[in-house]
Symmetry: C2
């Protein structure tokens, strides 16, 4: 079979272990470089992630999602300030679907970093939702692994709640916050479908606007219809905030602590993380299958040729696929 | 290895071939039943799709996407009326992401069907965006196969353009229409990212509203930034419509015909369909890998156990996955 592409030569291994050492020592440039290697799925990314992995598992991972314009970055900023006040270090991953066109990710990074300039206890990374080889939820999870290895106490993953990708990202969190704002039209209803059920805590932001009561009533109505993943006897509280003034942030932090304590007490944290890793392993296996099973064993040209035969009706795709799978998984029971 | 689950017994094969005969003869109840079997990925769905496949390849597939509230279902209705006036039969697949909560899919079916009641030349099927085992884009493609086998001349696949799933669905079309309306706020900008580049024809609906000129200017500005898949020397035209009054529909149909003729003339239709089938085969293989490679060979329990070991830091996931893949793809080079 084709040789495995990873270069695991001793010289490279030393390079990676030095990089991870510097990341662990708090060197920001090394951290940025390590994250870029992971984002680009560079050949050394597997060794890098393996080296980071032992230093993970103790940070609390917060997920934050909501409609565009709900005030997620402002809330992220306020939550970060609060955590810094408690002496905790914070790593932020901001996933922004608008960036391929507007350059929003890079701009966002600059604005966000300025807010915490000179504070080595905060690191911000923005990611666009498209163009990642490995799928966005996997890439953000791997970036979280590197960020956590850098010693951050809390990771904050922020994303716009528009599609399945974004839902998958936020599912990786221990505590998921779903943000809503009063005065959004019916269009937002469709965005909310699917993210309502992943909320551990609801945040009604811009609650000084008219309609906050109505939003809370709608949340309560939806709660009676949906089942959440993870916690069974936890009723997600609704916290009202005005992120731009910091109003409600202490109350929100109290609810986050309360949920984290609940997870510990009920031993749900581990169960939740096992469920997450099951999904992550599944996704990693699927991806390796595409790269090695289809890419190397079957070959891209063969796939193209089969597609042509299907279009020319010389192959029935519904019979072809099981046959190819049989070949790929080895000759047993042929 | 574990026995393949499909029951390919002669009695079942006769049942399926009879069902497909009835579908081909225009029996609506059989068509509905066949589509349900495919949607639910019933054991007989593979045999059913294999039996339908020879009767596909000649229908024109139209894809229609746009923001919620753009007027997609109204446009679909008007396009269908126009095609019926030309004596063409039409199959409609409407993908509605709001339906898990609102029951919109079923309601939508009823309303849509009433519009064409008593017309055997139109068949409408609505699908919710979640809860499909096989992934929505695969399921809608398979439903299209059955619909086409029923003898429809034109298939119309309509979906809300919010996520990658929806983009994948519309990519299956030969001709993709992207709908925009004047007067939508910035939030819609983020929804538009990613669907702009798949448009072969832009439809500015509700063009009697203020701002239609501005929308067209924005489209032109975006066109200079993006690259489209498929056609290289086709500049997507912008057609203005008021779907609720039928205004602009003949002009739209002219552009659709013009694009279809362009595809034929440049021999792009086949190239586009080969590219689509490459993606479909890839997705079908990935799914079979999850079912057979992971589900049967590895086993769900093993996956759960590995996830537990990862959380307990007894396994490094980044080393585990290549090792498992090696096992699944056979022992070579171990």
């Amino acid at each position: 079979m084709t040789a495995v592409k990873e270069d695991n030569s001793p010289s490279q291994a030393i390079g990676i272990s030095r990089l991870v050492e510097r990341v662990r020592a708090g060197d920001v440039r090394s951290l940025s470089r390590a994250i870029s290697l992971v984002e680009n799925r560079a050949p050394e990314s597997q060794a890098l992630l393996s080296a980071c992995f032992p230093h993970t598992g103790s940070a609390l991972i917060l997920g934050l999602t909501g409609a565009p314009g709900a005030g997620k970055s402002t809330l992220t900023h306020e939550v970060t300030k609060f955590l810094r006040g408690q002496g905790k270090t914070v790593g932020i991953i901001a996933v922004d679907p608008t960036s391929p066109y507007t350059g929003g990710a890079i701009l966002g990074d600059r604005i966000r970093m300025q807010l915490h300039e000179g504070d080595a206890g905060v690191y911000v990374r923005s990611m666009a939702t498209r163009g990642f080889l490995g799928g966005l939820s996997r890439t953000s999870a791997d970036v979280a692994t590197v960020l956590e290895a850098s010693g951050k106490d809390v990771l904050l993953i922020e994303t716009v709640g528009v599609g399945q990708d974004e839902i998958d990202i936020v599912r990786l969190a221990d505590v998921t916050l779903v943000m809503l704002v009063p005065g959004m039209g019916d269009d937002v209803q469709s965005i909310k479908a699917g993210i309502m059920e992943i909320a551990h805590i609801f945040v009604v932001n811009k609650c000084d606007r008219e309609g906050a009561d109505r939003v809370e009533r709608e949340i309560r109505a939806m709660q009676s219809l949906t089942t959440r993943h993870g916690a069974q006897d936890w009723v997600p509280p609704v916290v009202r905030t005005v992120a731009s003034t910091g109003k409600g942030i202490p109350e929100l932090m109290t609810e986050i602590d309360r949920y984290a304590a609940y997870l510990q007490q009920k031993q749900l944290l581990k169960r939740h993380r096992v469920a997450n890793w099951r999904l992550r392993l599944l996704e990693m296996l699927r991806q390796q299958f595409v790269e090695r099973g289809i890419g190397e064993r079957l070959g891209r040209e063969a796939l193209e040729s089969y597609a042509t035969q299907v279009v020319e009706h010389r192959e029935d795709p519904y019979a072809l696929v099981p046959r190819l799978m049989q070949q790929l998984l080895g000759g047993e029971g042929k």
